[in-house]
Symmetry: C2
Subunit: 772 residues, 2 copies
């Protein structure tokens, strides 16, 4: 599986730079230059209107439409919900002497697009050579405010280079956006108002009645406003400014947009409108400059606590900062009720749905950078507990069955083989609760909400499982584990093991609560109707859980019969046949010992401390050669384990495209949006992989190694309220606390109390050779 970089952007430690415009790559750039603030996101599309290939995407977290699904069978979904493309609040048109700027038609030079990690802005500049010889330097800058969730802003700077005269600017809001996947728009405008140089509209989605308030105001400097005229068109409200501009003088038009999304239908339109107007009022005094300063200050603080520095490897330095930037853009826990879609807020692919990636790949980033955000993610699951309980009933089970793909807590995967056979979101949630408990020790949350989820999830796993008739052991039949290339199997090792852990953890929390929180225990028992027999049953099930395992080789069998699956040498598959989903008959994918992504290795990563290095080595050596990494989540887990078992070269090779998966468009589908959850995996790859962080055992452990190509790297992490800085070069490792009290951790297996002074230990000899 050779993945090949498509190098295009300039390498810079603090930004991504595109020089020159390539229409063929425009959609890729739109993904890379996407901005978001967890509440909303916009792709980096040319807001002035573009006649070429573009995906004009503007998304609001949790705002969805739905379409009916022709379901054949009971227990499969009937309605599929997806993140709907929403208002284009950046809508702009620029006209000079009747010619409208359009990069698909116009002549221009000096194109440059920059994403600045420290400013949190995207800038796009060019010189427009109009047909009548007029030349204008134009710069668009935009931001999506990290400090004010509802606010987006745009600054347009126009400098006539060889003339003085008139320029027409139309700027406004457009609800005519198409949802490309569905080939239609979903919005109607139910209310609108034009006021001063701005306007407001209330849009409503066709099927779900989700509503979006959107408004804008304009502020012009450096040019005379000859005329300002309101424009009303279907689903569109704008202001047309006629400006007199002077040669060599920059005319600046600032736009501040306020958006407010309403998923519930409870409130009447009038109330929703008033809420929107109130938000607009709160923002009225904010200038673009102020918003921009706030934005830079926010990012400065982020980089102070969350930066990763890599000396001697500019590409990965840029890559990992891009990843951290995207993680914060996608999610930072300021707004309750959100989750992380597989593509974040950067495209329509995966329909804006969240998967198990949230708890297994993204949560660690937040646990060690932003524990509030970590909690908020778990809160999402608690808010959707009723949906999960309903879903369990739909599949003839009890308790809570968390959906494999969701935007609002309901199942939104229309493939029964995934929605009904993939059980591993529930155990991922339980793992997330356990992990959060270990690192953050938020017992209030655990004893009230966490435990209720654990009880209901356990109930599901206690009714979905069955007893093998021959083995006499408990397990899950008719399932698909994390490895999606084994479609419908029995006793998937990962699912069985995670269920066993679930039962044990639920029981231990309930046991702990007997002593620590008897009142809370009483409350949750009453609320859930928990019975003692259930606890006994869960103990039985955990004890009798089948974990397919070959004593002789020490290899876990991914599922019953996996060892007999026909062998294929994955290196014999021609590169042209990837991705296999597109090139192989669907059924053929599922008939080999080939795996798509880690499954046995996944639980060895999650419960790392429970397995010896030897066990990890044996299983790595068996499964890695069978894995084709058709999931972008796959290489990082392999890299982390490879580093642990001393396969440093492999660890680095697997790492190679982790941080730059999208920047270098390795999978050739960045055009659809960023691989947001893979970005989280890239962070884990450095911190868990090279940093050797382990957070599943007793306390926290570090065991850094360093790729030979790097001079030095360092990362920060928040742990028990303190900020730790880990710095490693080819010779030594330094760990210190930069903020807060000293903390106890283990370094290379040795206990250490880390304070401001820090400790220094030598880097072990076996360093990583650069990938050759």
């Amino acid at each position: 599986m050779a993945k090949i970089a498509d190098k295009y952007f300039k390498v810079d430690p603090w930004s991504v730079v595109e020089e020159g415009f390539d229409p063929e790559r425009n959609r890729v750039s739109e993904s890379i230059f996407a901005l978001g603030n967890e509440y909303m996101g916009v792709r980096g599309y040319p807001e002035e209107g573009y006649g070429g290939d573009t995906l004009l995407g503007s998304y609001f977290n949790g705002l969805y439409e739905e379409m009916p699904v022709q379901g054949h069978y009971r227990g499969t979904i009937r309605s599929l919900r997806f993140m709907v493309n929403a208002v284009d609040w950046l809508y702009t048109r620029i006209t000079v002497d009747g010619e409208q700027l359009d990069l698909a038609q116009s002549r221009f030079s000096g194109f440059r697009r920059v994403l600045d990690f420290r400013k949190g802005t995207v800038q796009r500049e060019l010189v427009w050579h109009a047909k009548d010889g007029k030349e204008l330097a134009i710069c668009f800058e935009r931001l999506v405010s990290m400090t004010r969730s509802h606010v987006g802003a745009q600054r347009m700077t126009i400098t006539p280079l060889n003339f003085s005269g008139t320029v027409q600017i139309r700027s406004g809001l457009d609800f005519n956006t198409l949802h490309e996947d569905q080939g239609r728009g979903f919005w109607s405008v139910v209310r609108r108002e034009q006021a001063g140089s701005g306007a407001a509209m209330l849009g409503r989605t066709a099927n779900t009645g989700n509503r979006l308030y959107s408004s804008f105001t304009l502020h012009t400097q450096g040019a005379e406003v000859v005329r300002s005229e309101p424009i009303e068109q279907e689903h569109l409200a704008a202001t047309e400014l006629t400006l007199h501009v002077e040669q060599g003088q920059a005319a600046v038009v600032d736009k501040v947009a306020v958006n407010a999304a309403f998923v519930t239908c409870a409130e009447p339109d009038a109330a929703v409108w008033d809420e929107g107007q109130a938000l607009l009022g709160q923002t009225a005094e904010a200038s673009y400059d102020e918003l921009s300063h706030e934005q830079a200050a926010y990012w400065e603080e982020i980089w102070r606590t969350s930066d990763i520095r890599i000396e001697g490897d500019p590409e990965n330095q840029q890559g990992i900062r891009f990843c951290i930037f995207q993680m914060y853009q996608t999610y930072h826990g300021d707004n309750p009720g959100f989750n992380i879609g597989a593509k974040g807020l950067t495209g329509e692919a995966y329909r804006g749905l969240a998967f198990w990636d949230t708890e297994t790949y993204c949560l660690p980033f937040y646990l060690f950078n932003n524990p509030k955000a970590a909690k908020s993610l778990l809160e999402f699951r608690y808010r959707s507990l009723e949906h999960a309980k309903q879903r369990a009933r739909e599949v003839d089970c009890e308790g809570a069955f968390y959906p494999i793909a969701t935007i609002d807590g309901t199942e939104s995967c229309d493939l029964w083989q995934h929605s009904n056979l993939q059980l591993h979101v529930g155990t991922a949630v339980a793992y997330g609760l356990w992990h959060y408990d270990r690192i953050v020790s938020d017992k209030a949350f655990l004893y009230e909400k966490g435990v209720e989820m654990l009880v209901e999830i356990s109930r599901f796993y206690a009714t979905r499982g069955q007893w093998g008739q021959k083995s006499g052991q408990y397990g899950y039949f008719g399932v698909m584990g994390p490895d999606e290339f084994q479609l419908m199997v029995n006793n998937n090792c990962y699912i069985n093991l995670m269920a066993k852990k679930l039962f044990e953890y639920t029981r231990s929390v309930l046991e702990e609560m007997k002593a620590e929180a008897p009142a809370a225990l009483k409350a949750v028992s009453a609320k859930t109707g928990l019975r003692d027999e259930e606890l006994e049953n869960w103990a039985q099930l955990a004890e009798n859980m089948k974990i397919p395992y070959d004593e002789e080789t020490g290899i876990y069998e991914e599922h019953d019969g996996f060892f007999d699956m026909p062998h294929i040498d994955i290196h014999s598959i021609p590169v042209t046949e990837f991705p296999l989903y597109s090139h192989w008959s669907y059924d053929r994918l599922y008939r080999y010992d080939m795996i798509k992504q880690p499954d046995v290795l996944m639980f060895m990563f999650l419960y790392n401390s429970e397995y010896t290095t030897e066990a990890k080595r044996a299983n790595y050596e068996y499964y890695e050669p069978r894995c084709i990494h058709e999931s972008s989540l796959s290489p990082s887990i392999h890299s982390i384990l490879a580093a642990e078992i001393g396969r440093h070269e492999e660890a680095y090779n697997f790492f190679e495209f982790a941080t730059r998966l999208d920047l270098d468009n390795y999978n050739r589908n960045t055009r659809e949006g960023l691989h947001t959850t893979s970005i989280a995996a890239a962070w884990m790859n450095i911190v868990y992989g090279f940093g050797g962080l382990r957070s599943d055992g007793e306390g926290l452990a570090l065991a850094p190694s360093i790729p030979q190509a790097w001079d030095e790297y360092s990362f920060n992490m928040t742990y028990q309220g303190s900020v730790l800085e880990i710095k490693a070069d080819q010779h030594r490792v330094r760990v210190r606390v930069t903020e807060g009290d000293s903390v106890a951790i283990r370094i290379y297996g040795e206990n250490a109390e880390i304070g401001m002074a820090g400790v220094e230990v030598p880097m072990p000899k076996t360093t990583v050779k650069a990938g050759s």
Copy 2:
């Protein structure tokens, strides 16, 4: 699984009689009173127009429409073809003094609907009490000619009981028929002509461009035609007759319709039209009486060679004749290129598609009643060989992959789990060729067409299979066997065994041809590019085929791991949960040792002579209690094997609803159409079950038993050109040849030469107790 009869029709040995009209049951009756002649079929709908619940269905074998399928993956179908509802050539309207007859609105009495097995007609009579007090006895009779495939006819007899006066009859053709499953009509009329009292139209389907020529002529007797007026409406052509009728005198309007279906688009409309007109010309002189006489004569001949008589059990007597009647109506091999849809030509359910039922359940009926029809069925597969080869390439295999569901030879199942995992049509075709070869010895067909199919089918099975990594044996991974309650398994015993047989048979035919038909062998080798290595490979694969089997118990394991499937006591499932497809979550169906229909027992039926009675008993005793018979094809196979292993009471119990599945609406879905292929299974149930016929071993074997409830039963069968009559009562069995030369068979294991004089042997003691 308690199936309960819904007794409704009168029991009669030679007809089905409905007395009184029950609107709730009208759709069921429309299925029961459906007529067909393999070329076309009409449901028994009220042709005078009915405002109540009706499925006005008129079908032409092989005439199809298609709809796009939203396929997610490669190797799954993109277009689904289905038998399209076509012209209502029985279209009639009767008006008296402005009131139009409609059984949903009108007052009427004396309703009686009769299907006559000897006349091959459906008669429907009633007395209409019009609002103004006028009373008319009305009788509709219809037939679909068994001797003239394109011809259908209707006789309407109207007798004014208490008045003389005017009656208006509108009669014609209507292409406005709705395809209910799709909620739309598919026809446009591309040409029309009105001539004399009749008219002709050429209809064309919207997506596929299939065409249907339809025409009618009217002939009136016993009434004065006051006026005859052509009616042209959209998609409709009719004649409106104003008749003067005399009290007490029967006015008769006969309608002869000529229909011709054109599936190919090659010929221009004009040519197709001319063909239709020529057919109309050939029928011009045929009166209803003539057609009716021909029809009765045809059926007389059928009953002479194919009747089954049961003395002492009027319900099963009626039932089995209904079955035989339907088998001939659905298919008798006069028209090349047809197959047998799961519902024949009686409804939209199963979309008119043919499955593996054709070769495994229907073929034996034709082998022993109408060998020409048997051959024609196999010809269907030969005609569609190119489609099967194309399909094999779509799933990344070689050779020919016959579709699990088809109308024209292309795959038309839109569920990947069936279309891509169910491999057993190909081996069913091979089995059919083998069976046909054994019974009919048509070597010309075998050496030219049969062998070509065998080679291509073998190629498919040699590329779809794989080697188990642990077992070192060959087999099929990711498959669904006949038992559709084990959805995606490895080494399904049935599939593996049938593939082994396929390879062996293909090799033996090729071997035989070396001596018997070297030129034909050369031809087929050249045509298929057959290589010696392939033959060697097939030998290897057959030899190393994995047949999961437990030496200790003698039980074949349905597939790898079946013995570990969680147990469910199928009798613990509440009756209200059937059918399980409607009441259980889809994934739940597949997680037990519960089977839907015979799988291991199926191959023990097909290759009966290769298994000892002990082996059959052991496997029957294991699998029967796990089978819920959710397929209507299931009980008959169990009944046949139960009879063989001496479980006579069970044999009779399983037989109970075989012949009357539709007459008594056991599955409560006869409204959708008849269970045509189950009807074939009912025939096998008597002939293979009680008759003890075995046709898979050396020569033919009989071993009759008799249910205690029966005084006597007899059946005829054609074998090696002779007609055998088998007659059995509680004391003895008589077998004789009634036509043709003497034949050698075995009776209760003893060789016997049967001639006109016949042989008589005592009935063995263990007779069947009536089901209690």
